[in-house]
Point group: C2
Chain length 361, copies 2
C-alpha cells in the first residue's frame, strides 16, 4: 500500500497514524463491540470521547476558561452567517479586513444582515499581501472586527499586522491555519474553523467564543443558528457529527504527542522554508505574494508560463504528489502543507522542483 | 474481535460489511494513495463518489426526476428550521401531525416563523398511537402539511393513516425509517432525514425536494439555510461532509445488493415480528403502542415494574445487547432494529426475553 504526498487545499492529508488508529478501531472501539460511529451520542463512552476531544483542544490551544468551545456543523460558510446574526446586534455594524476570497464571502454574507466597513483590503493587487492597517478607518462602534488569519487561495497569512481594536472584539476565521502556529486565544472574541485542513475530516466546525459575546444572540434566530443554544447544551443540542469529532480528538492527541502547537509550528516553519527556499533559489519559479506575509500552510508559486505550470502539476502527480494545481484566480501552483504533511513531502516537492527546472530550461 | 448487537436508537449499528470496507480503504482508496476523507471535494475521484452516492439513493428510493436530492449538514433539527423558513412563505401557515417528541419540536420551531395548526395529535395518550385524521381540521391554505413517518421515541409509525392533502404538499421527517420500507416519493413534497439511523454516520442529512417548492425561498435567509443554493450547487456550495457521504454511498450499495428497499422491508418485517411475537407471547412484557401503528424500527415494551425493566436492560447488555433502555418519557425498553441490525440480533433478543421471563417469574 503506497500513500501519496497529497497537497490538497482541503479536505486534506491526515496524520497517517490517526488513519491507522481509525482503521484499527473501526469495528470495535476499545472492546465496546461497536464503531464510534455506531454509538449513541448520549452514551457514556461517547460522552467521554467528546469531553476528551474538547479538553485536548483547550489544552493544546491554551484556551482560557472564559471561552466556550463548540463543535458545530456546516463549515466556515455557516459561520459567515452565524457570526453577524449572533454578534452584529448592537450597532449592526462590523469592520472587516478583505484579504482573500473567503474574507470577501464573509463580508458579502455579513452585508446581508448589517453594515460592513472594509477597514483594509488588498483586493486591488489580487490579494498578494496583507494590507496595512489605518486605525482611523476602524469604526469604534463596530460590533466586531473580522479577520482571516490565513488565506488558503492566495497563500498569505497575518504576521505582524494584527488590528489593535481596543474594546471591539476580533473575530477570526482560522479555518486554514488553526493549530499550525501559536496564537493567544485571549486576543480574540471569537475564532472559528472548519476541521478539514488541520483538524480532521470535513463536517465539523470549531467555534471558540468568549463568554460575554453569548449575551448578544437575538431570540428570533433559527435554533440551530444560535451560539447560545449550542453553548448551553455543550454542543449536544442535537446529534453532533460523532465520527468527525472522534477523528478530531485523535488529531489533537497527535499534536499533543508531537509536543503541542509550538512544536508543530517549528515543523511547519521548517517545511515551508524548504519549499520557499526552492522557489527563491530557482530562476524558473516565483512566489506570488509578499515575502513577509507568506503562509506556512498554502505556498503559491508560478513559472510565468501557463503550459509549464500545467506540465509541472501533471508530472508531480505522476511522482506521487497530487493536487498542486493553483486556484484559478491565482493560477500556477499551490502546495498546501498543513500540519499532517510530513517533512518528507516538502523535501520531495523541493527536489522535484529542482529536477523539473533542470529538465525544462 | 467480538461485535455486539447494538440496539441504540441513533447513531446506531452499521452494516458490518460497510465498516470492513471503510477500514480496508482508510489509508488508500482504490489506489489513489489517500483516504476518502483526505480528498478535495472538487477532485474527480470524490465527485465520482458523490455522484454515485446520489445516483444510488435515487435508484433505491425510485426518486422521480422532478425532485432534487441534497446532502446537507445539521441533522433534522436544522430542517425543523429550514422547512418553515423556505416553505412557509405564502400563507405563512402550516398543518402538523403531532405524533411524538420530534414532531413536537418541529412544530415548536415552525411556530417561531409562522402559524401552526395541529391537524391531529396523540399527545394526550403519551403518543401511543397515530391519531385519526379529520380533513375538516386541515387548513386548505396551509403552505405544507408536516408529518413524521416513524416516531423513534414512542415506537409508532404511519401505516394506513396518511393525510390526503390535495394540493398542499406533504413534508415528511423520515429520519428514523427512511429506506426501511417502500415509500412512493411522488406523494411527498419534501422528505428529510438525518443519516444516523439507516444511512450512515451522523453529520449528513438527506433532503429530497420537489422542484416546484424551490421557488418559495425568500432572499433574506442565511445562505446556508436556502434550499435553492444547495440545489443550484448540487450540494457543493461549501465543502460537504465528504467521509459521511462516502459511507452513506456504501450503505446504499449494501441495500441495493440485498435486493433494494422492498427486500429490506421484508427483512425488517421479519425482524420486527420476531420481537413483537416475543412480546405478545409473554406474560411479562407488554408493548406500549397500538398494534396497528407499531414501528418496524423502534420496538417499545415494558414489564410494568421499573426495577425489572432496569434489570432487563442491564443483563441484556452483559449478554452483548446494549442500549435497550427506553427513553425516559416512555420508560421500559426500546429495541431499535434499524436496517443494519442483523436478524440474528432480533432472535438473540427474543431468546433472551424468554430466558429472562423464566428466570424472573
Amino acid at each position: 500500500m503506497e500513500r501519496v504526498f497529497n497537497f490538497s487545499a482541503g479536505p486534506s492529508t491526515m496524520p497517517e497514524s490517526v488513519l491507522k488508529t481509525a482503521a484499527a478501531e473501526m469495528l470495535n472501539y476499545k472492546g465496546t463491540g461497536m464503531s464510534v460511529m455506531e454509538m449513541s451520542h448520549r452514551s457514556k463512552v461517547f460522552i467521554e470521547i467528546a469531553d476528551n476531544t474538547k479538553a485536548l483542544l483547550k489544552e493544546i490551544m491554551n484556551i482560557p476558561d472564559n471561552y466556550k468551545v463548540l463543535f458545530l456543523q456546516g463549515g466556515a460558510w455557516t459561520q459567515f452567517g452565524m457570526v453577524p446574526l449572533n454578534l452584529m446586534t448592537n450597532s449592526k455594524k462590523a469592520d472587516f479586513m478583505d484579504t482573500g476570497n473567503w474574507a470577501a464571502e464573509a463580508i458579502k454574507e455579513a452585508g446581508r444582515f448589517g453594515t460592513v466597513n472594509i477597514a483594509a483590503s488588498s483586493k486591488d493587487s489580487n490579494y498578494d499581501h496583507i494590507p496595512q492597517l489605518d486605525p482611523k478607518k476602524f469604526d469604534p462602534n463596530a460590533d466586531y472586527f473580522h479577520i482571516t488569519s490565513n488565506n488558503t487561495i492566495y497563500g498569505t497569512r497575518m504576521t505582524d499586522n494584527w488590528p489593535d481594536t481596543g474594546n471591539v472584539p476580533v473575530v477570526c476565521d482560522m479555518s486554514s491555519n488553526i493549530l499550525s502556529e501559536v496564537y493567544d486565544v485571549s486576543k480574540f472574541g471569537l475564532i472559528y474553523a472548519g476541521a478539514q485542513k488541520n483538524m480532521g475530516p470535513s463536517g465539523v466546525t470549531v467555534v471558540i467564543i468568549r463568554d460575554d459575546l453569548l449575551t448578544r444572540t437575538p431570540d428570533n434566530l433559527p435554533t440551530m443558528m444560535k451560539y447560545t443554544i449550542h453553548a448551553e447544551k455543550d454542543s449536544m443540542h442535537n446529534t453532533p457529527p460523532t465520527y468527525a469529532l472522534y477523528l478530531a480528538g485523535l488529531v489533537y492527541q497527535w499534536i499533543k504527542d508531537l509536543g503541542g502547537v509550538s512544536a508543530m509550528q517549528k515543523i511547519n516553519e521548517e517545511k515551508a522554508k524548504i519549499i520557499y527556499d526552492a522557489i527563491d533559489n530557482s530562476s524558473m519559479f516565483k512566489g506570488t505574494v509578499a515575502k513577509k506575509d507568506r503562509s506556512l500552510m498554502n505556498i503559491t508559486f508560478v513559472t510565468g508560463d501557463k503550459d509549464l505550470d500545467e506540465k509541472f502539476a501533471k508530472e508531480a502527480e505522476k511522482q506521487g504528489m497530487p493536487n498542486l494545481k493553483g486556484y484559478r484566480t491565482v493560477g500556477g501552483m499551490r502546495a498546501s502543507v498543513y500540519n499532517a504533511m510530513p517533512i518528507e513531502g516538502a523535501k520531495a516537492l523541493a527536489d522535484f522542483m529542482k529536477k523539473f527546472e533542470m529538465e525544462n530550461k
